[in-house]
Amino acid sequence: MYGFGLAKGLMVTLKNFIRPPFTIQYPEERIPQHPRFRGEEFAWYEERCTGCASCAKYCPLGIIKIVTSEGGRSPQEGGHYDIDVFDIDIGRCMFCGLCVEACPYDALFMGSGFERGRYERQDLVITVDELREAVKKPSTWFRPQLEDSGYDPHKDSALDWRAVGREKWEWHQREKAGARIKFRPARVGDKTQEGDGEARS
């Protein structure tokens, strides 16, 4: 029958008509983000950072600028460099995350935000003070230990520097205190991070 296809087309639009709209009203509601979302406002933990500047060297765009000065104590005594400048020019950042991959001390994490619109380019540079004061909700990208703990930066609260590392913080303390570490590669069925008995040996 002629016109049957037309009627079918009308039915398709009618079906859409009674469906709830897909639109997300942006300023009021947001699309749920994945916890591994690589966003802005890097989460940087000064307590963990040694000032090694690996992140600056690995950045393909060279947009991280780090200036350090010697702290009071020598590294052997447990001291580290003071970070004077830690600028990330986020206007040119492409969120590749190589800086996070490069950081050996779990001090730098990708952020979880995406709303850093500014009127001037200069304002897009994240300074060290900003990094210090930021509410740190690290993305779990490239940090499996965070992901395993079930942390979701979009729902959970900000994390302290003690909570984000690959190992428990006490582990490091004991290592510095001279504990001998027997390295044992992880096996399937290992309980992750359960006690630090095997680490102390």
Binding site: M1, Y2, T13, L14, N16, P21, Q25
Partner: protein
């Protein structure tokens, strides 16, 4: 004093309040405010009041229609539509209009200034003129013309001239394309459009829209299914609505005939188009759905019933626009000439035979078809419509023949070319 105007409630009230029984107007209750010899002022004031109401109603209606169309189109596409300005975005058309008013009003250098400027006025005028015969409720019409249907068709084809003026005077090739397409299409659709209404005129025995409404003991949508279909499709072509919007096809010729228009002129053209849909829905409701008459209280709630039916047809127009893609010009022409025209002719013929059979014309005096006779006609016409659509649908359907590929050696290919 024309005899038509005194039937209008608003006109009579204003006129009698001001002018009263002066002059040759003997139908007012008593004396009016103005002294004798000033009937012309009362006449002018009454006319102005009516014009004011009608123009504002048409433009406000266009604004509401713009809003509802955007909202509904969005819903048809599972979006939300404008919802920032006011509750449910109801003030969006006002924001649009404000924006358009403060835009620069550009007239191209090469344009024919006079024709260019006249176009929005003519388009809006054609629309407002067609509202003059529309019965909004019982006794609420401007004029009860005895040639109402003819008048609508004549006035609504004026927009064809306006479109061509727009295209020609813009001195822009895209505007010209749009105008040429428009003229070709609109003139073709005019013919089935007129023929589709002949059946109604035959049944009613009058062209006055008021008597059309009064004769509808059965909605003419059932008695004249073919006529209603052809009229609906034809009028949506006249309105340049989406399946037929080749004259402003955005993806092909920028904006068609109104490419060069901006600012308030563009706003007027849009207002005329949008209010045109309202007017077309109103005429569909009047001619095929019984206008102001409803299941109960058609005297008191006449305007309400009319608005309900109008809203239903507007919804249908929006639904069609949300669904169908734009047709090609040859498809549109084939649709008009191979599908709509035969359908309109069949409708005409069948209705004529029926009307003759039911002894409508006894001697020279037209009679009234009773309700039962109308139901019998409906029972005959609906199967006739289905069969006719089935038959003529085949003719207008395009048969796609893939041409046989022809291989030709136009030049020797480089591989076989001999090198001296």
């Amino acid at each position: 004093m024309t005899p038509f105007l005194q039937e209008n409630v608003v006109f009579r009230e204003v006129y009698c309040f001001l002018g009263g029984n002066e002059g040759n107007a003997s139908w007012c209750g008593g004396d009016g405010l103005l002294p004798g010899g000033f009937e012309w002022a009362a006449y002018f004031a009454a006319g102005f009041v009516i014009m004011f109401i009608l123009v504002n109603a048409a433009l406000l209606g266009a604004a509401v229609f713009v809003w509802s169309e955007r909202r509904l189109l969005a819903r048809f596409q599972a979006r939300r539509g404008p919802n920032r300005w006011g509750p449910w975005g109801i003030f969006q058309p006002i924001a649009d209009l404000l924006k358009l008013i403060i835009k620069e009003d550009i007239v191209p250098n090469a344009a024919d200034r006079l024709a260019f400027t006249l176009v929005p006025i003519i388009m809006l005028m054609a629309l407002l003129l067609s509202l003059a015969v529309m019965p909004f409720a019982r006794n609420t019409y401007l004029v009860n013309l005895n040639v109402g249907i003819l008048y609508i068709i004549a006035v609504s084809s004026m927009s064809t001239i306006a479109i061509f003026m727009a295209g020609w005077s813009s001195a822009n090739k895209y505007a010209m394309f749009g105008a040429m397409r428009g003229v070709a299409m609109l003139i073709s659709y005019e013919i089935p459009l007129v023929l589709s209404l002949v059946g109604v005129v035959l049944i009613v025995g009058s062209m006055s829209l008021v008597s059309v409404v009064e004769a509808q003991t059965v909605p003419f949508l059932l008695v004249q299914p073919l006529g209603a279909l052809v009229f609906m499709l034809g009028i949506s072509a006249e309105l340049n609505r989406t399946p037929f919007d080749i004259l402003e096809a955005e993806s092909e010729i920028i904006a068609g005939y109104h490419t060069e228009y901006s600012g308030i002129k563009f706003a007027l053209i849009q207002a005329a188009e949008m209010a045109g849909v309202l007017a077309a829905s109103g005429f569909l409701a009047t001619i095929f759905m019984g206008g102001w008459s409803g299941p109960f209280w058609s005297g008191q709630l006449g305007a309400f019933w009319f608005l309900v039916k109008l809203a239903g047809f507007v919804m249908l127009f929006i639904w069609i626009r949300a669904t169908f893609p734009r047709l090609r010009i040859d498809q549109i022409m084939a649709f008009a000439w191979k599908f709509l025209l035969p359908l309109a002719l069949i409708n005409f013929l069948v209705t004529a035979v029926q009307v003759y059979f039911f002894g409508f014309y006894q001697g020279d005096v037209p009679g009234e078809l009773t309700r039962n006779e109308l139901w019998i006609m409906a029972a005959i016409n609906i199967p006739v419509a289905l069969i006719a659509i089935g038959i003529f649908g085949r003719f207008s359907r395009e048969k796609v023949r893939v041409p046989e590929p022809v291989f030709q050696n136009i030049a020797p290919s480089p591989r076989t070319m001999e090198v001296d």
